[in-house]
Symmetry: C2
Subunit: 222 residues, 2 copies
DNA sequence: ACAAAATGAATGAACGTTTGTTCATTATTA
DNA sequence: TAATAATGAACAAACGTTCATTCATTTTGT
């Protein structure tokens, strides 16, 4: 046969694309820059991706896969749903601290409505949120009125917004404060719990709140 | 002297820019398209704005001005801080329903880190959030651990994320459900209240919670 | 009162870049 | 040598920006 395909190249393209997209945003990220940073020719990139949008979708899918793996990893450790959610939020912040581009590129893609997310990718996203919803509801960590969309926004978009806002330097200097992940995780848990405070006892009567029904049970299901 | 400046044209440019940015995102919004939609020549646009980024900043500043006015309008009606926050969130959703571009363009600008927000604009943003923080803290609607940045993310970014996600059609069809604004407003209030539920009485002892100190008073100030 | 000159608002063709994409060519190995 | 992996110069389309030009209006000179 002929020359063998160098499989590491595709991974190099993915890594380079994440870096370039993360730095510039999807619209200001030339394919040529991605190829250069990956040490690959432009033509090679087009032999494996139908176009720029195809590359974006591949990246997003891989990222969702990783997030899904993280949830399964936490679940496999027999963690409680609360710990899974907390671990999930912390994981996002950990990645943001070590490799900001990996988070910033998602922030760009997610909020750029001018490109379409592939059906397969949105399907995976719905599955991931649906999975968390099932876990959370059965553990009563997630209130009945909360939907998969709510989880997506609270557990994923909200931390992303904190990270994005940090990099804007509007309210404080760049480095993410070390206490922020836990603070945000608490906020997320409160939100999905529909207002039940993190403490499991009422401040007055000291009654346990763990098995109580949720206040806003009037919200329709789904 | 010479021809008189047509003052309506600048306003037409602003309106057109919001529409084009809202549809395409800032990076995919040609200046030519904005000028065409405004019924104005490209050259005219450049006589009044130093460049595209200057136009973006002007738009964002005007939008923040409107949001500030809305808060002052609600405050002038002697509303409680809770009602102000609720009204603020509802206002965002109202605009999103009637003129989606007015919200979607902000979503784009806010999450596109490849362009710089002018100092004057970030200053206004900080002022607006600081104002809400002062109001909220004195009314005990906002927990002590909550910062101006938290308010920005909870009251502004969170509703924006709901609206953006809706337009992605991932979790449900397009039109914003009528009950969503109130649901999100409740969520926002819960978050800024740091988990204290909307109901003002404990589910067990029926003790009033209104004047209680907040659970997470351990958060440092600022 | 009138025409010519002066002014500056407004225009849009043209320019230089940058972009995504292609494909004729080269390099590599069976 | 035959087959195909890989290249990157070349291309067309699109972009932000410029600036020589046009045009409506006011000022000036008679």
């Amino acid at each position: 046969m002929a020359k063998q395909t160098d499989l590491t190249k595709i991974e190099r393209i993915r890594e380079a694309a994440i870096r370039v997209f993360g730095r510039n945003g999807s619209a200001n990220a030339p394919v040529a820059a991605i190829a250069r940073e990956a040490g690959v020719s432009v033509g090679y990139l087009y032999r494996h991706y139908a176009g720029k949008e195809d590359l974006l979708n591949d990246l997003l899918e891989k990222t969702l896969e990783k997030l899904g793996d993280k949830v399964e990893e936490l679940a496999a450790q027999r963690k409680s749903t609360e710990e899974i959610i907390r671990g999930f939020v912390r994981y996002i912040f950990d990645v943001a601290r070590e490799q900001p581009e990996r988070i910033l590129y998602v922030l760009h893609l997610q909020n750029d409505l001018s490109w379409k997310i592939a059906e397969s990718t949105t399907g995976r996203l719905k599955d991931l949120c649906g999975h968390l919803l099932t876990l959370g509801r059965s553990a009563k960590t997630v209130a009945p009125g909360i939907t998969a969309e709510d989880l997506y926004i609270i557990l994923f978009c909200l931390p992303l917004q904190y990270i994005g806002t940090s990099f804007r330097n509007i309210f404080r200097p760049v480095p993410l404060p070390p206490e922020l992940p836990d603070k945000v995780a608490d906020m997320c848990l409160t939100a999905v719990r529909n207002g039940e405070p993190a403490s499991d006892r009422c401040g007055y009567c000291e009654e346990k709140r763990t098995n109580r029904t949720f206040i806003s049970e009037t919200y329709e299901e789904n």
